[in-house]
Amino acid sequence: MLQINNYHLSYGKKKVLRGIDLVVNKGETLALVGESGAGKTSLGLSIGGLIGRESEPANQAKVQTQGQIIFQGKDILHLSAEELQELRWSKISFVFQNVSNTLNPVLTIWEQVSEPYSSHHLGTRRQAREQARIMLDKVAFPSAKINHYPHQLSGGELQRALIAMALINKPEVLILDEPTASLDPITRQELVQLLSRITKDCAVLLITHDLSVASALSKRTAVLYKGKILEEGPTDKVLQTPHHPYMRALLRSYPHMHSSKDIQSINLNLKEPAEGCVFFPRCTQALPICQTTAPPVLEFKLTVLSANAKEELDFFGQNGSSKVACHRGGIVPYLVVHRLSKSYGPEFSLREVSFMVFEGETVALVGQSGSGKSTIAKLIMGLEKPDQGNILYEEQKTPFPRSQEFLQKVQLIFQNPYDAVSPRLTIKEIIQEPLLIQKIGTQEEKNAKAIQALADVGLPTEDRFLHSYPSSLSGGELQRVAIARALILEPKLLIADEPTSALDALVQAKIIKLLMGLQEQRGLGMLFITHDIALARKIADRILVIQNGEIVEQGLAWEVTSNPKHPFTKQLLAAASVF
């Protein structure tokens, strides 16, 4: 129906769109989401032939385009002004954002809505008026206000009028550009319901930054960032388990009722990349190639699966259902634990534990003490050898004993900070210990790194502090020291074994904020082991519930905590802190 092929658009030197490929079929709604400045509206306007057309003399100097926008077999970019006039408001209609400026202030709503009908000579003036009234009824515009002027109406009413106007000629393509921006939630909901009802026959391109609107109206979603589509896939999957780090960041920063985790942002490095991946400056899993070469659009594929392939694919999205523009094929699964078993005699055994931890993701492992949580941490770190099963780091099998490289990339944070640092070493010696062991850097470099690590965790960096002993520090400070020590090797994955259960709530909050901040900056994957499901709910993307050495339930944090399926999860939730 509407097909966009490798469409580029630039205003002078500024590249706005960098090779867009999209198809919108009849009866389908495609949501194009992204932050402001991503180029969403430019794409919408291009489809309407409002910018970027070669025959548009006024624009020729500044605007350069490349590629095709094909509608009914013709390239919109090469149509004449008359042909376009023919298409606009009859075959291709628009609902723009900023409702108050779109309508002519000296025409009544009735006149305004009937205008596209009469200007395309589809019938008499009376028929036009009649059609407009039917349309306005359809969009539930209050019939008493049909002769009002735009300034007399509310935002929601104006938007209804605009929708009526867009649909009056039964268009085949409808571009909805932020149709619900600046409306209150209840009006927005009414409009969303209306739109989903009356746009069934069109091919709809929904441009929005509002993920809830995208979710309500569309079956497919594409994510636009700096003029490049980074991910495209089924809306429910994109909004549940996004595969591109940018989409995940967008989702995390968006407060919605289906998330229990605190909102989280992303590196704020808005430097324009000259070449390579547009997301490179903000990406935490980038490779050297990402800086130089634009990533190909790849079909999303989980090359390693932790256990039950069907369940896992149902959860993370079928292979090939989404497309991701990323050299790494989307968010990387840093840790894959594959059917891990370990038996300690008849009293306790870990049975076929399987899960994954992705880049920049927090997975909480929740369970009672003695359920095998710490055993899993030990097995991952290679302190013990599993009876069966594999542990994969970055999709590679881990050797036993663990390689030095693995021990650099994966760090463990312990429960009891008093015991985790040697009382006989100074803070500086403690923090530099990993560098000493791994023989990294000269003494000056070590000192600089130690100071940086202390600054990262919000501890003082003066000499006095560096040369003091752990006995002069509080538990919270010591845990920060332990975290600084773990971070000095710049790990990619943190296994945090009850890192805050020895601390009081205020200190815990500080440490958690610190860890979340580090995750935001560095894309740390985190396996957070805790017995506190209330805490897990606030920090984790996903929760694994473990009982007697078996994972009995796993899923998105909000889902596990609001719709527990397993009796043990229900029990945990019932016992969670409430006051």
Partner: protein
């Protein structure tokens, strides 16, 4: 700028113990007199004379024995020999204890089993029995005596060291170091040895104390090299003349010197133990308070 404050406090905590002060002073006085007095007095303990059983006088400050030898000179030389044995056995048996204990605990597995069973076997054989047998054949010199006593005294220490290392090995900061990729040597020197120092000191003191006592016992039984002057032999010989007044300046000073030496080492040992315990208690108390 290093934080000397903590180190100063650490040292001060030792000087706060009365036992350490008393025992330390005693040990210093004894050792100093064994080492310095022979120089000043220039008496020859081996030189016999016709002045037998002389009571203390200006020439012989502690009189003479049955063959006219200077008792004080003998006492001092015996003290020197005891000191040598004490230090020698202390060092040797501590090294053996630490070496085998640490090896057993850190390497573990079959080596651990082997070392521990070996210790069990040696422990069940009565010490004095072995010593008498070996001595009877060899009439050991001072050096051999040191080796012999050391071989019999390191066992208990090794057990204690092993137990301590096993518990230290499970400390989280040791695991942390392992997870940063550290090898066993690093773990031992950086994380385990510093924690063992109090234990090593007390094993050393215990070894030294037992060595002095054992050396005296062997001398008393007369199964050492007869050319070596020892407090044990002196006590044994003086008992032969118990019916004379001579025991007052022959037996009493010798037995007194032996007792004082043992007391001083015991006092230091106890003092150290208490100080280390209270130091570590204070440390853990600070930690839990916060």
């Amino acid at each position: 700028m290093v934080d000397y404050q903590a180190k100063k406090e650490f040292l001060a905590s030792f000087l706060a113990s009365k036992e350490i002060i008393l025992g330390g002073c005693l040990a210093i006085i004894l050792a100093a007199s064994f080492l310095i007095l022979p120089w000043l007095l220039k008496g020859d303990p081996y030189q016999t004379s016709l002045n037998i059983f002389t009571p203390p006088n200006k020439e012989y400050l502690l009189g003479t024995n049955d063959v006219g030898q200077d008792i004080l000179a003998g006492l001092l030389l015996g003290g020197q020999n005891s000191l040598k044995v004490a230090v020698g056995v202390g060092i040797l048996s501590t090294c053996l204890a630490v070496g085998f204990g640490v090896l057993a605990a850190l390497v573990g597995g079959r080596l651990d089993t082997f070392i521990m069973r070996m210790i069990d076997i040696i422990l069940v054989i009565p010490n004095i029995f072995i010593i008498i047998l070996v001595s009877a054949y060899l009439k050991p010199s001072l050096g051999l005596e040191i080796i012999l006593i050391s071989l019999l005294t390191w066992l208990g220490g090794a057990r204690v060291i092993r137990a301590q290392v096993l518990s230290l090995k499970e400390r989280t900061h040791v695991y942390a170091a392992i997870l940063f990729g550290a090898n066993l040597a690093y773990i031992f020197f950086r994380h385990i040895l510093p924690e063992l120092i109090p234990l090593v000191l007390s094993i050393f003191l215990q070894g030294a104390r037992r060595a002095i006592f054992m050396e005296a016992a062997l001398g008393f039984l007369g199964i050492v090299d007869p050319n070596v002057i020892s407090w044990g032999t002196m006590i044994n010989q003086s008992l032969n003349f118990f019916y004379l007044d001579v025991w007052r300046w022959w037996l009493l000073p010798t037995a007194g010197a032996l007792s004082l030496s043992l007391i001083s080492l015991t006092l230091i040992g106890r003092g150290l133990e208490e100080t280390f315990i209270s130091n570590s208690e204070r440390r853990s108390k600070i930690a839990t308070d916060q």
